[in-house]
Amino acid sequence: MLEYKKDGWKAAISLAPAMILLAVFTFWPILNAFRMAFMNDYSMSSGKWDGIGIRNFIYIFKDPTFWTALKNTCIMVFISVPITIILGLFIAVGLNSIKKLQSTFQTIFFLPYVTNTIALGLVFGAMFHQYDGFINQLFNKNISWIGAGASYTNAMIVLMIYTVWNGLAFKIIVFLSGLQSIDKQYYQAAQIDATPRGRVFRRITVPLLSPMILYITITSLIGAFKAYSSVISIFGTGKYGPGSDPKLLITIVGYVYEKLWASGVPLGEAAAGSLILFAIILAITLVQLQVGKKRVHY
């Protein structure tokens, strides 16, 4: 122990570069955002504000676009995340149970992970194009998915499929590595006792995988709440919906981003928006950890 204490300055020097960078680019902005959110009518150019208060929050809560963003984000989170996790789990279990071509399929399912999100969005844009898109051609339909006049449901379906596809790869890999670390003897023991497949999955695989499932659930929910790039990669830079309704699928992060660039609008509102998002994520993560304590078997 004493030796470590003597070398304390060495540790400090080693940590310093990272700590300085974190302080400048992470800690200070977080504190600053917190401060700005409660400064009424703050203007960065003049550096003036009109006292401390919650005026920014009141603006936001009165803004219908914020509620649209919140609704869109929540729909995406609570539909796409469960679908991705369940689908990922089944694909991983399937992959784990085949012997031939396992690595081939593993590569195929991992491809979206190494593919650029924007490129993936362009592909989706092309696939769901109204006139020469692959999907409409396949089913011989003429549906406007993401183009002019696209309905909310249609656009949301495309965004959902994109989000699920984009997030699937990482989840499959995590679940697969989790599955491969489960001792085969549990399955042999279950086999000797004539346990049907469904029960093996429910009573053995899922509980033994529960730490991975909790980890994936928490990180996916956080990721989904921060959705932004998925929307613009489908609809194009600065657009959150088809040309006819560019705010149709705006998300909370999109809302905050828009606030930053809108002329004349105080920066404080963007800070307040991000703070609200932070509070939502924090609350949901705490609930999950609480549930995890009871349901997860380490």
């Binding site: 001792d183 003897q185 042999q188 086999q191 000797i192 006792d193 004539a194 346990t195 033994l208 078997h297």
Partner: protein
């Protein structure tokens, strides 16, 4: 009707069934196409209601044999019978066996009770009866008061008992144990092996266990099967195998400290050591090179003894002394156990006679005398 059936299954479990392995063979083919024969033409009959130890060095095919009886490994040749029923092609779940894995494979997220109940869930046994049976098994293995604990809260010995209870709760026809004592410490091992013997006696179930520890196999088995390189060497009552090994491998494998092996030959009906010392002059075998085996406890220090040796080391092992000494012109030293208090010191020249020797053909290892 329902009750009747259960009573019957209990009774048949108590009688136990006979397990017959006929020409059982298992070959593993690796990626390069190289074939390894793990079990080679293995035939034994395991009598009903007995406790049998499969014994051999690691890699001898004993665990593979156990897993073939369980049905988890498919034999590449030969067949397995439970009484008269050919189970060779039956999957493990249809064989009615209970298997205790080397590391127990208790489901870590379930309590002891849930672990023991698990096999019964699949049999659709009414809850009340399942609970009663689980409790009965828990009492049998003396873990009745641990039912609500998780496996991680149990000691190795207790986990072992839970695993046995889980294997027995569905009244299997055969109980299989893979290296049941290898994960326990020395004291617990002694205690647990007596427990296994007791549980087997009380249930009367035909039990096969695998071990590389000869002492463990000899102490509790009704019979042991010694295996080497996938081939059965000898099957008999443990003491019989120890006293009358069929070949050099079995003689060397059983006994601690191990048997002493000295080179010699048979010439003109005389058994002589390589240096010419005459051991016996009335041997009815043809001339051949032999290995002479003498167990440490068969030596006697005797002025008229024919084996002359120089003492190198004396170890005090309690009641007896172990003498490590060397016969002149031989590289290897040998061990003899003699009563303590004879005042033997290193460097002393002594003469040994012996109460019993084994003579093996040097090439085949087959026992001659």
């Amino acid at each position: 009707m329902e009750e009747n059936k259960n009573i019957q299954s209990t009774e048949s479990a108590q009688k136990g069934i006979e397990v017959t392995l006929k020409n059982l063979t298992k070959e593993f083919t690796d990626k390069t196409g190289k074939i390894t024969v793990a079990v080679n033409d293995f035939s034994v009959t395991i009598p009903a209601g007995k406790l049998i130890g499969l014994l051999g060095p690691s890699g001898c095919g004993k665990s593979t044999t156990l897993y073939m009886i369980a049905g988890l490994h498919k034999p590449t040749g030969g067949s397995i019978f439970f009484d008269d029923e050919d189970v060779t092609l039956l999957p493990p779940e249809k064989r009615g066996i209970g298997l205790v894995f080397q590391n127990y494979a208790l489901y870590p997220h379930m309590t002891v009770k849930q672990n023991i109940l698990f096999p019964l869930e699949n049999l659709k046994i009414p809850r009340a009866e399942a609970l009663a049976r689980a409790q009965e098994m828990a009492e049998l293995v003396h873990i009745g008061e641990l039912m609500e604990r998780k496996p991680s809260q149990l000691s190795g010995g207790q986990q072992q008992r839970v695993a046995i209870a889980r294997a027995l709760v569905k009244y299997p026809r055969v109980l299989l144990l893979d290296e049941p004592l290898s994960n326990l410490d020395a004291r617990l091992r002694l205690q647990t092996r007596e427990e296994i013997k007791r549980i087997q006696r009380e249930t009367g179930i035909t039990t096969v266990f695998v071990t590389h520890d000869q002492e463990e196999a000899m102490s509790i088995s009704d019979a042991i099967v010694v295996m080497n390189e996938g081939i059965e060497q000898q099957m008999d009552h443990p003491q019989k195998v120890y006293d009358e090994p069929v070949n050099l491998f079995v003689a060397k494998f059983l006994g601690n400290p191990p048997i002493n092996v000295i080179d010699g030959k048979i010439q003109d009906k005389k058994l002589v050591l390589s240096d010419g010392t005459l051991i016996d002059d009335n041997i009815d075998f043809a001339n051949q090179e032999v290995s002479i085996g003498i167990r440490p406890e068969f030596f006697e220090i005797n002025e008229k003894g024919k084996i002359e040796a120089t003492v190198e080391l004396v170890e005090h092992i309690g009641r007896d002394n172990m003498i490590i000494s060397r016969i002149k012109n031989y590289d290897k030293s040998f061990r003899a156990i003699v009563p303590s208090g004879l005042g033997i010191v290193p460097g002393a020249k002594i003469k040994f006679s012996y109460s019993k020797i084994f003579v093996f053909n040097k090439e085949t290892g087959r026992r001659l005398i």
